[in-house]
Assembly symmetry: none
Homo-oligomer: 192 residues x 4
Amino acid sequence: MTEVRRGRPRSESARLAVLEATRDLVAGAGYDAMTIEAIAARAGVGRQTIYRWWPAKSAIVADAVLAGHIRLPEVTITDTGLLAADLKTWIDDTAAVLADPAGRQLVRALVVAASEDAGESELLYGHITGPYHEALAARLELGKAAGQLAGHADPDAIADALIGTSLFHTLTRQHDPQRLARLVEAILPAPE
Amino acid sequence: MTEVRRGRPRSESARLAVLEATRDLVAGAGYDAMTIEAIAARAGVGRQTIYRWWPAKSAIVADAVLAGHIRLPEVTITDTGLLAADLKTWIDDTAAVLADPAGRQLVRALVVAASEDAGESELLYGHITGPYHEALAARLELGKAAGQLAGHADPDAIADALIGTSLFHTLTRQHDPQRLARLVEAILPAPE
Amino acid sequence: MTEVRRGRPRSESARLAVLEATRDLVAGAGYDAMTIEAIAARAGVGRQTIYRWWPAKSAIVADAVLAGHIRLPEVTITDTGLLAADLKTWIDDTAAVLADPAGRQLVRALVVAASEDAGESELLYGHITGPYHEALAARLELGKAAGQLAGHADPDAIADALIGTSLFHTLTRQHDPQRLARLVEAILPAPE
Amino acid sequence: MTEVRRGRPRSESARLAVLEATRDLVAGAGYDAMTIEAIAARAGVGRQTIYRWWPAKSAIVADAVLAGHIRLPEVTITDTGLLAADLKTWIDDTAAVLADPAGRQLVRALVVAASEDAGESELLYGHITGPYHEALAARLELGKAAGQLAGHADPDAIADALIGTSLFHTLTRQHDPQRLARLVEAILPAPE
DNA sequence: GATTAAGCGAGACGGTACGTCAAGTCTTCTC
DNA sequence: GAGAAGACTTGACGTACCGTCTCGCTTAATC
């Protein structure tokens, strides 16, 4: 029962060009400094084509994120059997990503984009922080089963805190993985 | 020794009018939608007067924060002798502040302002989150002394995590004090 | 051969509205007091549209003159067969035009516009004083052929002098057609 | 019965500095491009001092002209006994003055200043063109007495025409002394 | 000699217009 | 009918000057 489309179909190449131009510009100048005019110019696309398909600048960014053109580097969490060591590794890996100015720039741009657009906000955060959360929570759950985490500790809450605190440090431009490591120490049972 | 002041002195009333207009507009329309033109108009001030004293929109906001015209409601932490209960109260109080749309709007505006201006960023966060951090860390230290917090737990790291996670929830528009409460449970020793 | 026109074509109505608004304002407040902002407002046109097509205020005035929106009233010179009488009539007619405050205002505005813009200057004067010059010189030539003007007298030089002197009187705000008439008497052979 | 002046008397040096700065700037950038701010800066004078003593930019220029700080080079007319030759010399000398770009610039600036200010206009023209007019008219009168000019010719009208036509040529940026010479030929009796 | 009154340079004030940039819309031709 | 191009109105940008105002500092005449 799909409606019959008449006329020229949407150009996939234009769509891709816009998303890629957005990816490049957002990482370059930042979200605020990026103009729709510049996106159109870099994509070699008419301005109207953008306005036809996206309602706002934040929506283009959101689309680029959902379509996978904008993505933060993956940070996998290892499973050596030792939760404390694995979390320490995760913290270091995350810190490495956020040590890169381009990484921090991207994080800030996404935060600004999301804060501008209530509708896209949850979708955006879900897509960006979701994978980090899933992986962390799963590893914590395993550690809990292995008795390396107190029984009353909530893996979701802890994953949230690790991500939230990382974000907080990025936004405040404090790059201090030690502090995050000390949070983990406070959460894990004291080594005897 | 003091330099001789020449020319008409800066108008304190104009300065105040600008900061108050900024406070009103940032809470109203948000940071991005606020224009310098609108600030000048609402303050009854010439546009040039703003450009003479502040280099950018973010600097006006920063100044308004530092001068105390823009401030988040104070959240004091009680000391009933029971750390767990006091933290629970703090979480609820903080959640109440962030439940108010104006409070969330203000937080997002400040995050955007800070992310636009590397220079002011630390100053800004220090002024806004600093008091929360001090109070929290002090209470945690007391609790630690009272044996209600593990000896190896770092009050600063925990305070950071509570604030960072609150901010994260605000930005992602997840208003869920329960999750924060569960973080506290994970950090505090299990109640017997 | 003609280049392919792409994009939306220039709006003829906007062009006309600008030239007409310029005509009205130049005759009203004068050249200096006329702002581009006011032209745009009166024409109901975006300011950018003016800047897109004209490089300067003087160019708009020049364009309005060349396009015939700004014009001095025509002064035709009669041919009754008597050169002296015809010149006298011309002087009176010209004086009548310059007796009107709007006419003098317009002359001064055009002089200021032309003096601001070396490039347009000749074009402008040619368009404004040209017709006066042609008509006068032609009539003088006829009179010369009829023996009413000395054989060595140069019609072009005399036409120039009549126009130049009229302009001089207008600029100096001396409105004295008699003096111009006496110039003609000095040029024509003494009546016997 | 002059009123007794109290307080600090007007600074003559400031007055002179303003007039000289005006002279320099008017010859440099032209009347329109000259700002009161620039006059004050170049004169090393407070802006208020200018506003205290002169009501408008045109009044400063007028004052500078009247006080002799701005003046066109003098053109004297010789008396060799031959009117035709003397007028030819005058035309050449005048043309030389107007051949200098600075001279033309100054003439245009004064015309614009005068056209802006109805009140000062006559005073200004009187001071600038007056001396030229007096000298020319006197020489023409002598020539007339010597029979080198028709008896019905009006020296004032002719002087006016020579000056007016010179001005006209300057404003239209036609620098053509020949044409002025031909006007003289038309006025003087044909050489036999 | 102290006081008073005005002029002085300096520079901030509320404004207006400048010329530019980008927003989002509209109108043309081309694919 | 989508797309590239580019003109349209709108409105904010940051700057330059406007003419006014307020500082502290002269510089006289008056007390």
